[in-house]
């Protein structure tokens, strides 16, 4: 028997800290990451030949970003690092990987998933026009490639990323046409007690808002999206929103970044057959795990970072360490119980702050009921909101997977990662039942497109 094999998927803040903890225990983990370089999304590293300073890229989080990157670089010789590698399936205690057309199947004694998050999206008229990006996508364009998504950009949605990305664009010299938040300002007051659990993070957020206002960019809260205008050939020409007083306001723009906070990337946990439970506050199904990150699953599975629950990058570092300690402990190795207690407390604090964020920047689920029938819901398969409603009327489908089988919603190459939550809301609103009853789209391999040429070279 060799040493137990720990596999970590994802090399963002959670994955790096988990790997560090496993290495510190004397093991050599396998770290699998889709990215070219470690760092994840929020601390995404620029390509090797780019030379922008940390302060420009990560602002107030530059020290943390650097620490995560340096932490990973120090691990390089102590881990089996597989960059640009996709885990496309998990079965019978093995992860199945694809890197280009090379494939592998790796057995694990403990699997720590640090899969991160992507934007939570609510459709609107015109969101399928060229020039519409997710908030995260807009940030990647800037952070990785130093480009803006347009020459005049509207930021629309809600959540901390809305303000962060808009202010990063402003700082980089891009022209920001408006920052439009669907959440009402009063929601932040209600959320204040929870948000005060991390005063420094709250302060950073307030400073971002000020910075946006200081340069004269219109910043509106409590808006309702009406339409992204433009045409399929030339793309976006503007964004119209309804203000809280009922009037419409149009902003000319050639690009829109949209997103309503984040959603965890849970497909791998799903393929590893983790249980899921409905979370009332954020209105989504989330993988079931204990406070240390131990998942309810048939093999030793641990979840950390935003891939388990969106608690932010700082929490990801702590939950990555904690999940690794839980895995080591379950493998029968000695762990520092005191450290685990401290980490649990820390993650708990971030949990409270995240509750505050969810209250301050709520997922605007009520928009689903108001969407026009001709609005595209599933962009991969070009399924409209009306298609789903008609499918329900004709077939009696009253659950997401059944609606998918009959209408193709969520059946395309993104596998419902971007439309699944909105589809559930459309189904629940049209069927007039709680969104929990609309269920969740079951994960199906491959998590992302898999080349038919896979394994060809062997």
């Amino acid at each position: 028997m060799g040493q137990p094999r720990v596999i970590i998927v994802g090399a963002g803040p959670a994955g790096v800290r988990a790997a560090e903890t496993i290495v510190a225990a004397g093991l050599t983990p396998i770290v699998i990451d889709e990215g070219q370089r470690a760092g994840g999304q929020i601390y995404r590293r620029q390509p090797e030949n780019f030379r922008r300073p940390y302060k420009d890229l990560y602002g107030t989080d530059s020290d943390r970003a650097k620490a995560v990157h340096d932490g990973f670089d120090a691990l390089r010789d102590h881990i089996d690092y597989r960059a640009e590698t996709l885990v496309w399936n998990i079965a019978d205690g093995h992860v199945w990987t694809a890197s280009g057309t090379a494939q592998d199947a790796l057995a694990y004694d403990a699997l720590i998933l640090c899969t991160g998050a992507t934007d939570r999206l609510m459709p609107m008229a015109g969101w399928d026009l060229p020039g519409t990006y997710s908030m995260g996508g807009a940030q990647v364009a800037l952070k990785a490639q130093a480009v803006s998504i347009g020459s005049q950009v509207v930021f629309l949605g809600t959540g901390p990323l809305l303000y962060l990305v808009a202010s990063q664009y402003i700082k980089a010299g891009a022209k920001v046409a408006a920052v439009l938040d669907t959440s009402r300002f009063t929601a932040r007051i209600t959320a204040l007690p929870d948000l005060l659990s991390l005063p420094s993070v709250l302060w950073n957020g307030i400073m971002l808002t000020r910075a946006i206002k200081a340069v004269g960019v219109p910043l509106l809260t409590g808006v309702t999206p009406v339409a992204i205008s433009g045409d399929a050939q030339t793309g976006v020409t503007g964004v119209t929103v309804r203000l809280s007083d009922g009037s419409d306001r149009h902003f000319a723009a050639d690009a829109v970044a949209m997103g309503y906070h984040l959603r965890p990337e849970t497909q791998l946990a799903d393929l590893a057959r983790c249980s899921f439970a409905f979370d009332e506050l954020t209105r989504q199904y989330l993988p079931v795990r204990d406070p240390d990150g131990r998942a309810e699953a048939p093999t030793p599975l641990y979840l950390a970072g935003d891939g388990a629950r969106v608690l932010g990058a700082r929490s990801a570092e702590a939950s990555g360490r904690l999940a690794a300690l839980a895995a080591l402990s379950d493998l029968g190795m000695p762990v520092d119980q005191g450290a685990m207690i401290m980490l649990r407390r820390e993650v708990g604090r971030y949990g409270r702050f995240a509750r505050g964020l969810a209250k301050a920047f709520p997922w605007p689920h009520q928009q689903a009921a108001a969407l026009a029938d001709d609005t595209i819901l599933c962009r991969c398969e070009c399924v409209t909101v009306g298609d789903v409603r008609r499918t329900m009327d004709v077939t009696g489908a009253a659950e997401a997977n059944r609606a998918k089988a009959f209408s193709r919603v969520g059946m395309g190459r993104c596998q419902g990662r971007y439309c699944g939550h909105a589809a559930a809301e459309v189904i629940a609103a049209h069927g007039d039942f709680p969104v929990a009853d609309a269920g969740r789209l079951r994960g199906q391999a491959p998590v992302k497109p898999l080349p038919i040429a896979i394994g060809e070279a062997e």
């Binding site: 079965a91 494939q103 199947a105 009959f406 898999l450 896979i454």
Partner: protein, 383 residues
Amino acid sequence: MMANPVTHSDVLIIGGGLMGSSAAFFLRQTHGLSVTLIESDLVGRQASGTNFGNVRRQGRPIHQLHLANRSLEIWRKANELLGADVEYLQSGHIRVCYRERPENIAKMEEYAADARQNGLDLEILTGNALRDRFPFFGTDVLAGSYSALDGHANPRLAAPAFARAAQKLGAQVFENTRIGHVTKVGTDFIATAKDGRVFKAPVLLITAGAWAGELSAQFGEPVKLTARSPTMSVTEPVPYAIAPAVGVMTPLEVETVYFRQVARGNIVLGGSCRGPAVAESYRSFVKPQNTLTQLQQLRRLAPALARLNIIRVWTGIEGYMDDSLPVMGPSATTSGLFYAFGFSGSGFQIGPGVGQTMAELIATGATGIDLSPYRVERVKAAG
């Protein structure tokens, strides 16, 4: 305490796959009998909804072609019959053999001669004639047998469309209804759901696929059914270019890959391997290695497809008989009891014909289709 609700009808059908749904439809539409259709999960969600969608006659046993022809007539008018689009595309079907087994050409020709006597016209193509018409085949492909009047349809839509059409005609459909105990008392069959609901009818048709064995056993006819799960994949959409459904004629299961392109552009793949399944769990999973093996076989059959990606895999639960033939016809022990199950991964094309045939047999006492190869006694005798 309230008594459990009791539902009465002329015919009770247990199993809401394609067989049960189409039988329910024809019992109403053609014969005017009252029908109750019971499905333990959701209509058409297992074998009927997750299969490849081949509307393929060629390759079936010659004795089955009469039934397959009957079924084809239904597929051709399915949309108007059901008032719903089941995406039936009569785009042809080609079955090819590989160079390393040239003896298959003679077998193809022999099969084609027999098939012609039974209403299925096949054209054998080799060399340039094959490649000019179907340039996507790899160099290992030696010959093909082409059926112009076969094609494919969407399995996710077909069985539910039959069930809805039956419902519109007055059939009662109960989903999420698991039958535990079933017996015959006097002239009535009494099926009791696990939640206590009771269903009564003088005729019982069991179309419960991989789940049928526990029901037939309650009438002294235990049948060995093996649950297996097919390996299915689909590519991203690409411009529509491949009309026929394609399959391989081979004695090796691993070589039996097949594909078809739907009008939207995605290419659906199946075959090569089947995974194990547990019927009681109602959920099965594709083995990753089976996906890789299937893709490897596909590259051999049609190398150009290697440039595409698959975006999803899926499977369901199918019931296999040891001899790959279904059990279809009356019970040997119990009058009024009928079976249609165990289609062994080959039931989709004949499904509507099976429904029509069973409806005819139940309503009139006879059918023009020869059901002797499918008698339940053959299984009992063998067991």
